[in-house]
């Protein structure tokens, strides 16, 4: 069967599964809708958290990025896993004991202040919308590349599916679809990696193949070979770092702390029955995440060696079909600078900017571009997303593996989108309406508003997916920076310091937020040409500045709280109470009444 038919079958089957789960797991009340009734078993929550967390970026882009930047890719690998240690040890068990629905709930109650609640809601909405726009776009792109439909149609199909299970099932529907989506995405990620590892090193386990010798008879280690190839083509060594140590330090810290502070991840720990379950499900979640995150760097190096071997000095006319297919989807471009009909691949950009394709074809049949050429020897442009999406084709794997990758990428994008949409709708119906503006509404009415806001959020997210604001890529730094400089410190101090009061928390949040936001806005939007190491404070890039914002937040909060009135006694009692696991079950019954 051809790839497209297989892709239709795989994607169709997985979508039917998601709809089936949605019908099976309908939400009956707000408790089901917000936290799946608080009755999710820890293992299922671990899987759901992993799917919630691993987005289109983790599935499609991360291995590709690592493939091109080598060792420095560790900032993402460690940043997006190390945060779970902070989450498990410092936040999850206590937030579960607190036993409400949302992050603004905790901030508002602990700091006995509606101002703090509103600041938190604004951050939640900003962070979540930033993130969800990228997911919807990812859904559209996968549809357009694998099924040859318009991106817009792809986004509509994605919206319809998410609409179905998020509006109908709320957190309950989302949780159980995420469990299914995790299984699909991890299978889809591991199968090609295992195949490639077998082909290149003879080891079925990619993590071992990563450190083994190649089976091409040269008896050299994979990574040594990669360093050697990189040197030949003029790239920096794959296993050496290029970023400064301080920048790597700060980016890793910002991503870790940001991960621990992201509302759609935190809220997953409200769904388990006990404090003990919150702890262990963070452990399960990290195991499930680590499966992908330790495979990705192995895949990155396999794909890189494969790519160089396949394309460098190859004659364009005889390149395998995947090369031309991906050229047709704008992800590959080739300019024959020296007119020899062969592809020369080396360090540096082949031309300025993203390829602008013309209608006509060149002498060798390649698609012509209108970009101004650079004067280096490199003739090849490769989009980094290709390293995962085209990897099965590059390695010559069977068609069903290619179809599987499409279904996996969709599972990754949809599961994250659904988790984010739920957080958005909860913020509106619960934090804004129920807690502030329409305090008298009944549970049924609140559930209605929750469904309405979920529907509205999907429409807005879909709009961003079809008309992506040009700044989506830049604002990812924002999402993590804001979570790191606002939520994480405020929640941490709320649990570990009884002296922290509302004045301190609000001052800290505002300082952290405004500092981080202005640094990022300055370098990314106002003066992008100055965005280089010599202009950065202490050599810290905008991606890592959230760490400094977090430190300022801590500093300002503790200073201000020292000079203002301590929190009331009932707040101190509340802090005492969340520090002890006992009674988490009854706190659940308490919130229900």
């Amino acid at each position: 069967m051809d790839v497209q038919t297989l892709t239709f079958i795989f994607v169709g089957a997985t979508f039917t599964l998601y709809i089936g789960i949605a019908i099976w797991a309908r939400a009956g009340n707000t408790d089901d809708f917000y936290v799946a009734g608080g009755g999710v078993p820890p293992l299922a929550n671990g899987m759901a958290t992993a799917a919630d967390w691993m987005s289109a970026a983790s599935f499609i882009s991360m291995a590709g990025i690592i493939s091109f930047i080598g060792r420095d890719g560790a900032v993402y690998l460690m940043g997006w896993t190390g945060g779970y240690v902070l989450l498990a040890l410092l936040l999850a068990p206590y937030l579960r004991k607190f036993g409400k629905y949302t992050v603004p709930d905790f901030v508002g109650d602990r700091y006995y202040s509606d101002i703090a609640r509103v600041v938190a809601v604004v951050c939640v909405l900003f962070v979540s919308f930033t993130y969800v726009a990228g997911q919807m776009r990812g859904v559209g792109i996968v549809f357009s590349r694998f099924l040859e439909v318009e991106i817009t149609t792809g986004v509509f199909i994605g919206m319809a599916i998410v609409f179905f299970y998020a509006v109908l099932g709320g957190m309950k529907g989302i949780t159980y679809t995420q469990v299914a989506q995790y299984c699909i995405l991890i299978f889809a990620f591991l199968v090609p990696a295992i195949f490639v590892s077998m082909l290149m090193t003879g080891h079925p386990i990619p993590q071992l193949g990563f450190g083994s010798t190649l089976v091409d008879g040269s008896n050299t280690y994979l990574l040594d070979k990669l360093d050697q190839l990189s040197a030949e083509l003029g790239f920096a060594a794959y296993t050496a770092g290029k970023k400064s140590t301080i920048d790597v330090f700060f980016i890793t810290a910002a991503l870790m702390v940001g991960t621990a502070g992201l509302p759609h991840v935190i809220v997953r720990f409200f769904t388990v029955p006990k404090v003990r379950d919150a702890r262990i499900s963070a452990g399960y979640a990290l195991v499930f995440i680590a499966l992908l995150y330790t495979t990705a760097p192995a895949l990155a190096s396999f794909a890189r060696v494969n790519l160089i071997n396949t394309v460098h000095n190859a004659e364009y006319k005889t390149t395998p079909s995947w090369f031309k297919n991906w050229e047709n989807t704008n992800l590959i471009a080739w300019v024959d600078k020296n007119q020899d009909g062969r592809i020369q691949y080396s360090a540096g950009k082949a031309f300025r900017g993203k390829p602008q394709f013309l209608q006509e074809r060149g002498l060798k049949g390649e698609r012509k571009i209108s970009n101004p050429l650079t004067d280096n020897l490199n003739e090849l442009y490769i989009d980094r997303d290709i390293m995962v999406l085209a990897n099965p084709e590059i390695a010559g794997l069977p068609n069903w593996v290619i179809a599987l990758v499409a279904a996996g990428a969709l599972a990754a994008a949809l599961s994250t989108a659904a988790g984010l949409l739920l957080v958005i709708s909860t913020s509106i119906s619960h934090d804004l309406l129920k807690k502030m503006f329409l305090k008298s509404i009944t549970d049924k009415q609140e559930l209605f508003f929750a469904r309405m806001s979920a529907a509205l959020a999907i429409i807005i997210a879909g709009y961003f997916g079809i008309h992506p604001p040009g700044f989506v890529a830049q604002v990812v730094a924002f999402a993590f920076g804001l979570a790191a400089s606002s939520f994480f410190p405020v929640i941490l101090m709320g649990i570990f310091s009884k002296r922290m009061n509302k004045e301190g928390a609000i001052a800290g949040m505002i300082t952290g937020l405004s500092f981080t936001a202005s640094y990022i806005i300055y370098f990314k939007f106002i003066n992008p040409s100055a965005n280089s190491a010599e202009n950065w404070w202490f050599g810290i890039s905008p991606e890592g500045i959230g760490t400094l914002g977090m430190l300022f937040n801590f500093l300002v909060a503790s200073l201000v709280s020292r000079f203002t009135a301590p929190p009331p006694d009932e707040i101190k009692d509340m802090v005492d109470d969340i520090r002890i696991p006992q009674g988490a079950g009854s706190s659940y019954h308490h919130i229900k009444s």
Partner: protein, 106 residues
Amino acid sequence: MSDSHSPQAKAYWKANIRIVLSLLSIWFVVSFGMAILFVDVLDNFRFFGFKFGFWMAQQGSIFCFVILIFVYVYKMNKLDHKYGVDEDRDNFSKDDTYYDNKESQK
């Protein structure tokens, strides 16, 4: 232990902080220490086909993170039990019926 102000509760919290701090210092050493600050030094050592610093940065630190969480879970469960604050002492029959309800709803 219903009174959360008791000396018992204070001792429990202190022991909790001690566990968290000791595990977080390992977390810091394996990631920020070995994989970032001293990565170039460790790269002088081979570990199978890897430079050791590179392996810590792209593989080893993640394995350590997983282990750290499970050690934390084990130690906290033991601590909860020792101080009598574990949830087995809650009256969980309520929650059991809750699970049952859940099943019947489906």
